[in-house]
Amino acid sequence: MRILIAEDHPDNREMLTRRLERRGYEVHCAENGAIAVEMAKSCAPDLILMDISMPIMSGIEATRVIRQTPDVSAVKIVALTAHAMESARRECMEAGCDDFATKPVDFAGLVALIEKYAA
């Protein structure tokens, strides 16, 4: 399964990449929303873990763009954000995310979520 991590914070990006790769996933990284949109097209991930607060293009905006881009519009997108307010969840779901998880990441829960979409 191919996962694209969109995350601007280098440590968090690296940490998540290492843990997911250990679990046997193929992981690609984008450090902002604009790059995530490009990589959604170029590397065709099965699932995107989308941070929300990112420079240049936010995760919300990137999700909206991807949902309107032919060929990649159906990719599964899980918002992964340190915004824990209920309003953040609503905003993500409205933008077109399939699911929502908060940081700090409950890793076991996240893997369960990924597996749900892998099936």
Binding site: D11, R22, A82, P104
Partner: protein, 569 residues
């Protein structure tokens, strides 16, 4: 009526209807200023008046007439003198007119103006700088002109105040806008603060978990213990951030409660399972006592769970080698079923003084406690405030050194918005009984609800069959008024579902529908079918007849908004 006072003949001659004076008076009485018919208080004035007329003045006067039966009348008098050959006054020719009606209207008008004046003065007193002057409204004693003047002055004063008030309003509005802006920026600050704290915490927890996995794989037990400490501290920090966020959401009025139906017993067992490791860690035993009939509730399960976890983790934290017990039951109150969930422990307990301030924000029983046991003291404050939002409360019974019992009490059914309140009047034999109206038509629910609320029934409303079934399970009403044509399922299906549920099978169902199928209604087990729209009184009579007998209701507990009761043995 005209009368003529003749000084030469020393007589008074009367012409016309003398009803205004009732009876004639004599010249002697007139001269001696002792005319009985003229009100004693006005006689001097009359005397002075005739003196002026004798001087040749052309003027008029109004005086009071007191009849022997005690009735008061008013006369308008205009007199002219007739001079004799010697130049002295020979006669007075007097025209007296009955003006009682006009004077009464005038008095009423003046009284009304007095009331207006009193109102204006009371309003003026609202501003605090002038105490209201309590003038006696003495009717006719004050003239119309004076009354007008007084009111004008008051109106002018009020207008001046309006200008000041408008100015104050503008300033208040600006202040409110500033406060709102401050509140928005406070919320924004909290949201971004939470985000900024979580981001590094994500890295701390994530890398610690990586290290933990590696230490486990390599069998480095010494490192493993240290990594565990980092992880525990990081998770405590996360709990703290979440608590602060919750509390500030409550404070900003931004925490929403969302009601849904759930199995209360299952929720309690799940909460107990969550805290089981913490309870075992301090060598405590967990005891569960959940009443069999606890059934379903229709309130915010997530928030109730949060409160339970708070109480349970406190109990686990402050008890060593003891017992943590949960006991839960359902009880009928005047305003419907309530859930009572008690969490007791055999831990350190609390003194009266400590108990009193326990629910305040950010207060732990003592600073030493905080050092010994850790924690922020936010849990109980959140519990209290969340329960208040659910219409319930948390109470405490405790004894220092012996343990504590925290009891959560809340309505099984969260109060709905726009709920129809039951009549407060006594003699309403629907009191202490609940009716659930299942109807997708809002106006039909409203009409039926009002008709039944008048009898004292508590009214619950569901707009679909599914919601109706959920609410019936949670609230166990004493009667269901059921429509047949529902959007998601038919009323017949609702009845089937309820009949299959042991907690709901005994609830009487009254069908209220345009579908006139009595045979099917009886076969389905309905007590009656009322053709829609049923007359208000018919519906009320049917409800009184078929609703289950009132439960032996306990009095409703005190308002949830009040401070929690604390009791120390």
């Amino acid at each position: 009526m005209i009368w003529e006072v003749d000084y030469k003949t020393q007589t008074i001659a009367w012409y016309g209807d003398i009803a205004i004076y009732g009876e004639a008076f004599t010249f002697k009485q007139f001269i001696g200023n002792s005319t009985p018919i003229i009100h004693a208080d006005d006689r001097d004035m009359m005397f002075a008046y005739f003196a002026r007329v004798a001087e040749g003045e052309d003027c008029a006067i109004e005086h009071r007439v007191l009849h022997p039966d005690g009735t008061l009348a008013w006369a308008h008098v205009r007199a002219r003198r007739v001079l004799g050959r010697s130049g002295g006054v020979r006669k007075f020719i007097v025209l007296s007119t009955d003006v009682t009606d006009r004077k009464q209207r005038e008095a009423a008008f003046i009284a009304a103006m007095h009331r207006a004046e009193a109102t204006l003065k009371a309003k003026r007193a609202l501003f605090g700088d002038i105490a209201p002057e309590l003038d006696e409204a003495d009717g006719a004693a004050v003239g119309l002109a004076e009354m007008h003047e007084r009111l004008d002055a008051l109106m002018e004063e009020m207008n001046a105040r309006d200008v000041v008030l408008a100015d104050i309003m503008v300033k208040l509005k600006a202040a409110r806008e500033a406060a709102e802006a401050a509140s928005v920026s406070k919320s924004q600050f909290l949201a971004s603060m939470s985000h900024e704290l979580r981001t590094p915490l994500n890295a701390i927890i994530g890398y610690s978990e990586i290290l933990q996995e590696e230490a486990e794989a390599d069998g480095r037990d010494g490192d493993l213990a240290d990594i565990q400490r980092v992880l525990t501290a990081a998770r405590q920090l996360l709990t703290l951030i979440n608590d602060i966020l919750d509390l500030s959401k409550i404070e900003a009025g931004r925490m929403d409660v969302s009601a849904g139906a759930f199995d209360v017993g299952a929720l309690i067992k799940e909460a107990a399972a969550t805290v089981a490791p913490a309870i075992e860690k301090n060598h405590n035993t967990l005891k569960l006592d959940i009443a069999e009939d606890i059934g379903h509730a229709f309130t915010d399960a997530f928030r109730l769970n949060q409160c339970l976890l708070n109480l349970l983790s406190n109990a686990a934290k402050f008890t060593q080698g003891g017992v943590v017990a949960i006991s839960a039951k359902r009880a009928a109150h005047a305003d419907g079923d309530w859930l009572h969930i008690a969490v007791s422990d055999t831990g350190i307990g609390l003194s009266r003084e400590q108990a009193d301030k326990l629910f305040a924000d950010f207060v732990q029983a003592s600073f030493t406690t905080a050092r010994r046991f850790g924690g922020t003291g936010l849990g109980l404050s959140i519990t209290r405030r969340v329960l208040a939002m659910l219409g319930g409360e948390v109470t405490l019974e405790s004894e220092l050194g012996k343990g504590s019992t925290f009891t959560i009490a809340l309505p099984a059914m969260l109060a709905q918005e726009g709920q129809i309140a039951p009549a407060q009047a006594p003699a309403s034999n629907g009191a202490s009984r609940t009716v659930l109206l299942i109807d997708d038509e809002e106006s039909a629910r409203d009409l039926a609800g009002r008709a039944l609320a008048r009898l004292g029934f508590a009214i619950l409303q569901a707009s679909s069959g599914g919601q109706g079934v959920q609410m019936a399970r949670a609230a166990r009403p004493d009667l269901i008024v059921l429509d047949i044509n529902l959007p998601d399922m038919t009323g017949w299906e609702v009845m089937q579902t309820l009949a299959a549920d042991s907690a709901c099978a005994a609830i009487p169902v009254l069908i209220h529908s345009v579908e006139d199928n009595r045979t099917r209604a009886r076969a389905a087990g309905a007590c009656d079918l009322l053709l829609k729209p049923a007359d208000r009184d018919v519906l009320a009579a049917a409800a009184l007849r078929f609703a289950r007998a009132p439960k032996s209701a306990q009095p409703a507990p005190r308002g949830a908004a009040e401070n929690p009761k604390t009791k120390t043995a």
